[in-house]
C-alpha cells in the first residue's frame, strides 16, 4: 500500500522557528542559527514514525510573485518579512532534505499550497493514500476521500495534532472540505491581506455557506437574509468576496513535472549527511540515524572473561574502565593493554590483586577507582593518562568531559555499537594516545604529568578522609538561628504593620513599594526588584530593608550551612566533599556537595559555622597553612615589575605601598581608607575588574575609580606592559 506524506515546508519550518525560539536560540559555535532546522527534523521524524509513508515530498514557496499577486496587488501585503535568523536556515533545510533523499519541490509562480494541492489530487486519483502536514488551516480545503490534513497546534508548550478528513470536517463544520474556499472568501484572511467581506467572521461565513452552499448561493438569496445589516455588508463587498475566493482557492492543477513515483523515499547520502549534521552540531540526529564518519578506523574487540586470580593477565601498563554502583563500589571492570584484547573481571574482588601487577594506569576520571583502592589499603598505580584531565588541559572551558563526547571530538575511530565496559576500556586506550599527542603539541605535558595526574590520588585521599563535623553543634546553632529568625520576622512584620511571607520577593515588593511607598529605583521583568543591592541601597534610609537583609543572611546560614551540613555528615561522622579537577576554567579546584571552600568568613555569626569543623578526637588538632598574597606575588613575578617586587622583597605591606603610589604620598600618610582602596585596586587588577566594578566596591564615582586604575598602571609600568600583552594575546587567539 502506497502512502504519500506531503509537507508544507515553509509552514512547518516557520512553526519550528517560533516554537524553538528563546533567549538562547539554538545555534552552532560559528553562529549559524539552527533552531528551525532542528525543530523541522523533529517534527518530520515524529510524523514519519506515526504515518509510515512510502513516499514523501516537501514543498516550498519561492520568492517570486505568484498568480495571486498578479490578481491582487495587496496579496500578502503588510506581512512581516521573514526574520534574518530564519532566512539563513532555508538553504540549510533544503540541503538536509536533499542529503536525506527526500523529494523537495518548488515552482516559480506558485506557492507550496498549490504544489501540495496538485500532488494530493494526483495521488488520490491514483488511489494512493495522502497525508498533508501543515500549520496552515487554509489547507483544510484539500481534505478528500484518500486525503487527510494534519495540523499541529501548540498551546502552553503542549502540541496537539488536529486530523481533518472529509468526514470529520463534515461532522465538525457541516460542509465539504472544498467549501472552505467559500467560507474563506466571505471571512477573508488578515495574515494574507485577503479582504473578504468586512464585518463577516468565521461564524457568520460558516452559517451562510452551510445554508446556501456557495458564494453564488449566498448572493442569489440575499433577500432572504433576516439581518438588514448583514445584507448591506455582503452587498457592499460583493466584488471583494469573489476576488477573495480566487485568492484562497488552492490551485490543484499546477504544471508540475514531478512524478509521484519519484517521491519514494530515497537512500540518504550518509557521508554528506554526517558532515552536514556535524557542521550543524546535530549530534542527536547523527546518533538517531546512526551516521558514521567515513574513512574511520574500525575497532574490533576480543573480549576475555577473567574469572579467578590464576587467570589474571598481569600487564604492568593498563587502560581501564570501571562502572560503579551508587555506593561507589565497582560493579564492572575491564582493562586492556592494546585496545583490542579486553579483559573483563567477573568478580570485583579481582581488582585488588590485579593492581598488584599494575605499575601504570590510564583511565577516565580515575579518582573514583583510586578512592576504592585507597579504602582497601592499596596504593594506586601511577597515572599514565586520565583522559578527562587531559581533555581539561586541552580545553578548560568545556561543560562536560564525557568519554563518548571526547571520542567523537578527538578520534576518527569506529567502535563497536555496544557501549559496554569493555568498549569503554578500548576507547580510553585510543583516547589516551590521542590525548598525549595533542597535549605534547600544545605544550601542556608538564602541567598534566606534574600537576593534574599526581593530584588525582591526593584528591581521592582527601575525599576519603573527609572532615569531622560536630552535628550537635550544627543542630544547636540551627536552633539558635531559628530563634533569631523568628524574632526578626516579628520585627519585620511589626515594621510593615502586617504579616507576610518575607521569603516571597513578590509579597515583599508589595509591602515595600506599594504599602510602605518606598521609592522604587529599579524594576525588573517580574515586577519590583528586591535584590540584595537594591535593599542595601534602601537600608540607609529604611530600617525594614536592613532587617530583610539580615533576615535573608540568617535564613541562608541556617538552610545552607547549619541544616545543610548536618544532612551530609556520613556514618563516620565526617563530611566528604567532592573535589572537582575539571570544572573551573582558571585551573582552581572546586569543592561540591557540599562546597567546603566557601564557608562563611565575613561576619562573626557566619564564622561560627567553622566551629563545627573539628579534628577526629583529642589526639588530633587542625593545622592551616595559607599563602599570603600569592596572586600579587605571582603578578610581581610574571610582570617583573621592579617596584612591586621590591615591596615583597623588603617585606613591606604591598597595599600601603600601592596606596602611597596611587595617591602620591609618603607611606606614613596613607590612611586606612586609602589602603583599603589600594587593596581593592590590587585585587581588581588580578581578577580583571572594571572601573565600574571598582566604583561599586569602594562606593566611589566611576571617574575616580578610573583615575585610581590609571594611576596604578602609571606607577607599576611593567604590570601595565604585562596586562597589555595578555589582552593582545587574548585577541590574537
Amino acid at each position: 500500500m502506497k502512502k504519500l506524506l506531503l509537507i508544507d515546508g515553509n509552514s512547518i519550518l516557520n512553526r519550528a522557528y517560533y516554537g524553538m525560539m528563546g533567549r538562547n536560540m539554538l545555534s552552532t559555535k560559528d553562529g549559524v542559527f539552527t533552531n528551525a532546522v532542528f525543530g523541522f527534523l523533529n517534527t518530520y521524524e515524529k510524523f514519519f514514525t506515526n504515518e509510515k509513508p512510502t513516499h514523501v515530498a516537501v514543498a516550498f514557496d519561492m520568492k517570486h510573485p505568484t498568480f495571486r499577486h498578479k490578481m491582487y496587488d495587496g496579496y500578502k501585503a503588510g506581512r512581516r518579512p521573514m526574520p534574518e535568523e530564519l532566512v539563513m536556515q532555508m538553504p540549510i533545510i533544503k540541503d538536509v532534505l536533499d542529503c536525506m533523499g527526500i523529494a523537495r519541490i518548488e515552482l516559480r509562480g506558485y506557492e507550496a499550497d498549490d504544489i501540495l494541492g496538485t500532488l494530493s489530487l494526483q495521488a488520490s486519483q491514483e488511489g494512493i493514500e495522502v497525508v498533508i502536514l501543515t500549520g496552515d488551516k487554509d489547507m483544510m480545503q484539500l481534505a478528500g476521500k484518500n486525503c487527510m490534513v494534519l495540523i499541529p497546534t501548540t498551546s502552553k508548550g503542549n502540541t496537539t495534532v488536529h486530523e481533518y478528513s472529509e468526514t470529520s470536517i463534515k461532522e465538525e463544520f457541516g460542509i465539504n472540505p472544498v467549501d472552505f474556499i467559500e467560507v474563506k472568501a466571505l471571512m477573508g484572511d488578515k495574515s494574507d491581506n485577503i479582504p473578504g467581506v468586512t464585518g463577516v467572521g468565521q461564524k457568520t461565513a460558516l452559517t451562510l455557506i452551510v445554508q446556501y452552499g456557495s458564494l453564488e448561493g449566498v448572493y442569489e438569496n440575499l433577500d432572504l437574509l433576516k439581518s438588514e445589516k448583514q445584507r448591506e455588508k455582503l452587498e457592499k463587498d460583493k466584488a471583494n468576496a469573489f476576488l477573495s475566493r480566487e485568492l484562497v482557492r488552492i490551485d490543484r492543477n499546477v504544471p508540475l513535472d514531478n512524478l509521484i513515483e519519484e517521491m519514494v523515499i530515497g537512500k540518504a547520502d550518509e557521508e554528506r549527511l554526517y558532515n552536514l549534521f556535524n557542521k550543524l552540531e546535530f549530534n542527536h540526529f547523527i546518533k538517531k540515524y546512526k551516521l558514521k564518519r567515513t574513512g574511520m578506523k574500525k575497532i574490533e574487540l576480543n573480549k576475555h572473561i577473567i574469572s579467578d586470580i590464576s587467570s589474571i593477565v598481569p600487564f604492568q601498563k593498563i587502560y581501564s574502565y570501571t562502572n560503579f554502583d551508587e555506593n561507589d563500589k565497582p560493579k564492572e571492570f575491564a582493562y586492556t593493554s592494546d585496545g583490542h584484547n579486553i579483559y573483563i573481571l567477573k568478580d570485583m574482588k579481582l581488582i585488588l590483586p590485579l593492581m598488584g601487577y599494575v605499575k601504570e594506569i590510564g583511565g577516565h576520571f580515575l579518582k573514583r577507582l583510586f578512592k576504592y583502592l585507597l579504602k582497601n589499603k592499596i596504593i594506586p598505580p601511577a597515572v599514565s593518562v586520565d583522559t578527562a584531565a587531559g581533555a581539561y588541559i586541552s580545553d578548560a572551558l568545556k561543560d562536560s568531559y564525557e568519554l563518548n563526547e571526547l571520542c567523537d571530538k578527538y578520534l576518527e575511530t569506529e567502535f563497536p555499537e555496544e557501549d559496554d565496559v569493555a568498549c569503554r576500556a578500548s576507547k580510553i586506550y585510543y583516547l589516551a594516545y590521542k590525548m598525549r599527542e595533542i597535549i605534547n603539541e600544545n605544550g601542556g605535558g608538564k602541567l598534566l604529568d606534574e600537576i593534574e595526574l599526581p593530584l588525582i590520588e591526593v584528591l581521592a585521599s582527601m575525599e576519603n578522609a573527609g572532615f569531622r563535623a560536630d552535628a550537635k553543634f550544627l543542630k544547636d546553632f540551627s536552633l539558635r538561628l531559628e530563634g533569631d529568625i523568628i524574632k526578626l520576622e516579628k520585627e519585620i512584620h511589626a515594621e510593615a504593620e502586617e504579616e507576610f511571607n518575607i521569603n516571597s520577593p513578590k509579597q515583599l515588593a508589595v509591602i515595600l513599594f506599594e504599602k510602605m511607598k518606598i521609592p522604587v529605583s529599579k524594576k525588573n521583568k517580574t515586577g519590583f526588584s528586591t535584590s540584595a543591592d537594591i535593599l542595601k541601597k534602601l537600608s540607609v534610609e529604611f530600617p525594614i530593608a536592613k532587617m530583610v537583609i539580615e533576615y535573608r543572611k540568617l535564613s541562608k546560614l541556617k538552610s545552607t550551612y547549619a541544616d545543610g551540613l548536618v544532612k551530609v555528615i556520613a556514618d563516620d561522622g565526617r563530611i566528604h566533599s567532592n573535589f572537582k579537577q575539571t570544572v573551573a576554567a582558571t585551573g582552581r579546584l572546586s569543592s561540591t556537595e557540599p562546597n567546603l571552600q566557601n564557608l562563611p568568613i565575613r561576619t562573626e555569626l557566619g564564622r561560627e559555622i567553622r566551629k563545627a569543623f573539628i579534628p577526629e578526637n583529642e589526639e588530633f588538632q587542625l593545622t592551616s597553612a595559607d599563602y599570603s598574597q600569592i596572586e600579587l606575588r605571582v603578578l610581581a613575578h610574571v610582570s617583573n615589575d621592579e617596584s612591586m617586587k621590591d615591596a615583597f622583597l623588603k617585606n613591606e605591606d604591598i597595599h600601603t605601598q600601592t596606596a602611597a603610589k596611587v595617591f602620591g604620598l609618603d607611606e606614613r600618610f596613607v590612611t586606612k581608607d586609602m589602603r583599603r582602596a589600594a587593596k581593592a585596586v590590587n585585587f581588581g587588577i588580578i581578577y580583571g575588574i572594571s572601573d565600574y566594578g571598582l566604583s561599586e566596591d569602594l562606593g566611589i564615582p566611576i571617574f575616580t575609580a578610573r583615575k585610581y586604575i590609571e594611576e596604578y598602571l602609571n606607577q607599576y609600568t611593567d604590570v601595565k606592559k604585562y596586562m597589555d600583552e595578555i589582552v593582545k594575546f587574548a585577541k590574537d587567539k
Partner: protein, 95 residues
C-alpha cells in the same frame, strides 16, 4: 596562555591559574611527604590558597615543617612566598 608554570588556557585569569597550580604542586608535595614519613596526620581540605591538615598532636612540629617546606618550594618566584600557619581545635580557631 603561555606562562612559567604550564600552559593552561585561562585567558581571563592567568594569575589565578598560576596561583592554582602552585597550591596544587604544594598539595602533591605535602601528601607525598606525609605518606613517605608514614604520618598519622592527613591533608583533608584545600581552600584555594590554604591547606588544612588534621594533625596528630605528636606530629605538630613535623607537620608544620613539611607544610612550610613544601609550600615554599612549590614555585620559584623572583619574590619570596610567604606562608601563615595557624593551629586550633576547630576551623574557627585556625583563621
Amino acid at each position: 596562555m603561555r606562562r612559567e608554570f604550564g600552559k593552561r588556557v585561562a585567558l581571563n585569569a592567568p594569575i589565578q591559574g598560576a596561583a592554582a597550580d602552585i597550591i596544587k604542586i604544594a598539595m602533591i608535595a605535602v601528601y607525598k611527604e606525609l605518606k613517605k614519613q608514614k604520618m598519622k596526620s592527613r591533608l583533608i581540605l584545600q581552600v584555594h590558597d590554604e591547606l588544612i591538615i588534621e594533625t596528630s598532636c605528636d606530629e605538630v612540629s613535623e607537620v608544620e615543617k613539611i607544610l612550610l617546606r613544601c609550600m615554599m618550594g612549590a614555585a620559584e618566584l623572583s619574590v619570596p612566598l610567604e606562608i601563615d600557619l595557624h593551629t586550633g581545635r576547630s576551623l574557627y580557631e585556625t583563621k
